[in-house]
C-alpha cells in the first residue's frame, strides 16, 4: 500500500468515525502512515495529538472542530516552531479563523475543511514535498475534492467549480506543461489558510501579485471607477475567473465574440478607440508575421540575419508591451508603442530583404563563376584530346 493510499484510508477513517475511538485496523494504518510523517521525523509521537482522553491503549480522535486549535497549539507558537525551522510561519490559525472555512467551523459546521482535510492526518509532508496533497501540482485536486463536488457545494448554497476550469487555464498550462512552480493555483488567488473569495473591488490586487504592470495601468484608468460602480469584478470582467485563457488580440474589437463588444458598440469615442486599438494590434502582428516569414526563408537559404532577428525580437517586445498597454484603456500611450513595434518589424523585414538580395547576388556570381569554370574545363578537355597519344 503506497503512502498516499494510506493517508487517504486514514483520512476516510477519521471522517467515518469522528470523535470516536478508532478500530484496531485503522490504528495500524495510521501508525504506518505516521512513519513517513514530518512530525514523526521531528520526534513527535501519537500522544502529541491524541493524549487528551480515552482509556488505556485507546487513541481518541479529536472532534473536527478541535483539530485546528489542536494544530495551532504548536503551529502558532513561534518559540516552539523555531526549534524545527527558524523561518517557519506561525499565522496559519489566525488566517484560518478569518477564512470561510474557519468561520463556519467556529460556528459548529463540521463539514467544512479543517487542517487535516488538506494536509492529511497521519503522513503529513512539507508543502514543498511533491507528494504532499498541498504541493503546487496537487493542490487543485485537493481543493477540487470538495469545491468540484456539486452535491457537496449545494449543501452550502454554493455552485461547484467544474474541475476542468482551472486545468484548461493558461495558469495550469504554465504549471503542468512548462513546469513553472510559481504559476498560480487555487491558493495563489484565494489564499490558503485564510481561503476567502476576493471581493469584487480587490480582484485587481490579487491579479497584481503577478501582473504588476497591467494592474498599475488598470488602477489609474477610467475603467477602475466604472467597473467598481457597476459591481464588475475588475480583471475577471474580461478574463473570466478559473478558466483564464491566453488572451487573444481578437478579444479587442466590436465584432461578435470580442470581449469589448459585451459592453460597447460602434457609437461614441470608445467605439473609435476600440477599433483603432484593434487595427494597430493587427498591423503590428501582420508586420511581425511578414518579417518572420522572410527571415526564416533567408535563414533556410543559409543566410545569417542576426540584425534582422534582433530587430524582430525588439518588435515582439513592443507587441508584448502594447498588449499590456491595452489595460490603460487609452489610445495615445498604446499607439506610441505599436508604431515603434511596426518600425522595428520593418527593420527586420528590410534585413530579410537585404539577405535575399545578397543571396541572389551570390547565386548570380556562382552562375557566372560556374560558366567560366565550365568553359575552362571544356578548353582543358579539348587540349587533352589534342595531345599526342601516350607511348607504350
Amino acid at each position: 500500500m503506497t503512502g498516499s493510499v494510506r493517508i487517504a484510508v486514514a483520512t476516510i477513517a477519521f471522517s467515518l468515525f469522528p470523535s470516536k475511538v478508532l478500530p484496531q485496523s485503522a490504528v495500524e494504518m495510521a501508525k504506518s502512515a505516521f512513519g513517513d510523517d514530518v512530525h514523526a521525523a521531528a520526534g513527535l509521537t501519537c500522544t502529541a495529538c491524541h493524549a487528551s482522553s480515552g482509556g488505556a491503549g485507546t487513541l481518541p480522535t479529536p472532534p473536527r472542530t478541535a483539530i485546528a486549535p489542536l494544530c495551532a497549539t504548536c503551529h502558532s507558537d513561534a518559540a516552539y516552531m523555531q526549534r524545527f525551522d527558524p523561518q517557519v510561519r506561525v499565522d496559519q490559525f489566525l488566517q484560518y479563523q478569518t477564512s470561510v472555512h474557519g468561520k463556519r467551523m467556529a460556528a459548529g459546521e463540521e463539514r467544512v475543511a479543517t487542517c487535516t482535510d488538506c494536509h492529511g492526518a497521519h503522513g503529513i509532508r512539507r508543502v514543498n514535498d511533491a507528494r504532499s496533497p498541498v504541493a503546487p501540482l496537487n493542490v487543485t485536486t485537493t481543493c477540487g475534492r470538495c469545491h468540484g463536488d456539486s452535491a457537496r457545494m449545494k449543501l452550502f448554497g454554493r455552485e461547484a467549480t467544474p474541475p476542468g476550469d482551472w486545468s484548461a487555464s493558461v495558469h495550469a498550462a504554465a504549471l503542468i506543461k512548462r513546469g513553472d512552480a510559481s504559476a498560480p493555483t487555487c491558493i495563489a488567488c484565494h489564499g490558503s489558510h485564510g481561503a476567502t473569495p476576493p471581493g469584487v473591488t480587490s480582484v485587481v490586487n490579487v491579479c497584481a501579485q503577478c501582473h504588476v504592470r497591467e494592474a498599475e495601468l488598470f488602477r489609474v484608468s477610467p475603467k477602475k471607477e466604472i467597473f467598481d460602480a457597476l459591481g464588475e469584478p475588475e480583471c475577471l470582467t474580461c478574463h473570466r475567473n478559473h478558466r483564464i485563457e491566453a488572451p487573444q488580440d481578437t478579444w479587442v474589437g466590436l465584432q461578435e465574440g470580442s470581449v469589448c463588444a459585451d459592453c460597447h458598440d460602434e457609437s461614441g469615442d470608445s467605439g473609435m478607440t476600440i477599433r483603432r486599438v484593434r487595427e494597430e494590434l493587427d498591423g503590428l502582428s501582420a508586420a511581425l508575421s511578414n518579417a518572420e516569414e522572410l527571415l526564416t526563408r533567408a535563414e533556410r537559404a543559409g543566410m545569417l540575419v542576426d540584425d534582422g532577428r534582433a530587430a524582430f525580437q525588439e518588435a515582439r517586445e513592443h507587441r508584448v508591451q502594447s498588449r499590456v498597454l491595452v489595460h490603460a484603456f487609452a489610445l495615445a500611450p498604446f499607439s506610441k508603442v505599436t508604431s515603434e513595434g511596426v518600425a522595428s518589424a520593418r527593420r527586420a523585414q528590410q534585413a530579410g530583404e537585404a539577405a535575399m538580395r545578397e543571396l541572389q547576388t551570390r547565386q548570380r556570381g556562382l552562375a557566372v563563376a560556374t560558366l567560366l569554370i565550365l568553359a575552362f574545363l571544356g578548353t582543358l578537355w579539348l587540349k587533352i584530346r589534342r595531345l599526342p597519344p601516350p607511348s607504350s
Binding site: Q363, L366, I373, F376, L377
Partner: protein
Amino acid sequence: MASRLRPWLEERLPLADLVETLRHKTVPHHRYSIWYYFGGMTLFLFAIQVGTGALLLLYYRPSAAEAYESVQFIVTRVPFGWLVRSIHAWSANLMVASAFAHLFSVLFLHAYRRPRELTWVSGVLLLMLTLAFGFTGYLLPWNEVSFFATRVGTDIAATLPVIGRGLVRFLRGGNDVSGATLTRLFGFHVAILPAIATVLVGLHLLLIQRHGISVPPSVERDRGTDPGVVRAIPFLPHFILRDLFAWTAVLAVLAALSTFYPWELGTKADPFAAAPAGIRPEWYFLWAFEALKHMPSTLAGVDGEFVAVAAMSIVGVGAILLPFMARNTRPGRRLVVWIGIVMLVFMSAMTVLALAGSTP
C-alpha cells in the same frame, strides 16, 4: 621585358633543368590510373585549406569570449567572408574524403610495396594529420555542437591506461573543455599541425618523385601478354593537364556547395548548459563513435571502451606498418585486399548506423 627576365632567372635558378626533368618524367597510364588523381586532389584541397585558413586568421579571435562572435563577424560583415569560411569548411570535408579514397586506392592497388614503404608510411601519417586538423578545427567556431562533441571526443582518450587522464588534461588544457582548450586546439590547428604537415607533404612528394608511380601487380601481369595495357604519358603536359581538369571540377563543386549549402554557424557554446540531444562528431569520426557505443561496458573483465580504443590503436599502428608486414605474394596481396574490404565495410556500416540512429 620578358625576353630579358627569362635569361636573368635562368642564370640564377635551375628552371630549365626543372622543366627538362618534368618533360622527361612519365606517369603510367592504364585502366586504374584514374585513382592516381586522388593524391593530387587531396594536395589541391590542402592548398585551398592553407589559403582560406590564412584569410580566416585575419579576423578570427581564439578565445571563448570572442571566437563565436569573430566567426559571426566573418560570415556577416567581412566581404566574401561567408564564402571563405564555407569553402574552408567544405574543402576540409572533401579533403578527408579524398585522402581516404587515396589511401584505400593505394591499398587495393598494392602501391605500398617495396620500395615505396616510406611513401605509404608518410601517407598514412598525413591522413591521421588530416583527421587531427578536422578535430582541432571543429571547436574553433565555439558553437554548441562543436563544444559538446569536443568534450565527448576528448573523453575517449581518458580510457587509455596510465596516460589517459594526463592526455585528456593535455588536450583540454584543464579538467574540462574551456577557453583554454580552444586556445590550445587553435595553436595545434594553425601552427603545430601545419608545420608537421609541411614536412610530411614534402617528404611524401619527394618519395613519389624518387620512386615514381607504382603499377598494380594485376596490370603488370597483363603486360606480359599485352604490352599495350600499360602506356606512359608525359607528366608535362599530359598528366598535369588531367590533374588540372580534376582540380577545376573540384573547385566548381566547392563553389556550388559553399553557395547553396553555406556551413552553419549554430548557436554559441554555453559550457554551463546541458548537452543538447543528438551530439555527434564530424562524419569521418562517426564510425569510431558508433563502434564505441556498441561496445559492452566490460569485455572479459576489461573496460569495453578501453578494448575498443586499444583495437583502433592497433589498427592504426597496423596501417602504418602494413608494407613491412604484408607479403608481396598473390595470397599475401589477396589478404591485404580482404582486410581493406572488411575495414571499409565496417566503417561504412558504422557510419550508416550512426546516421540512421541520429535521425530525429
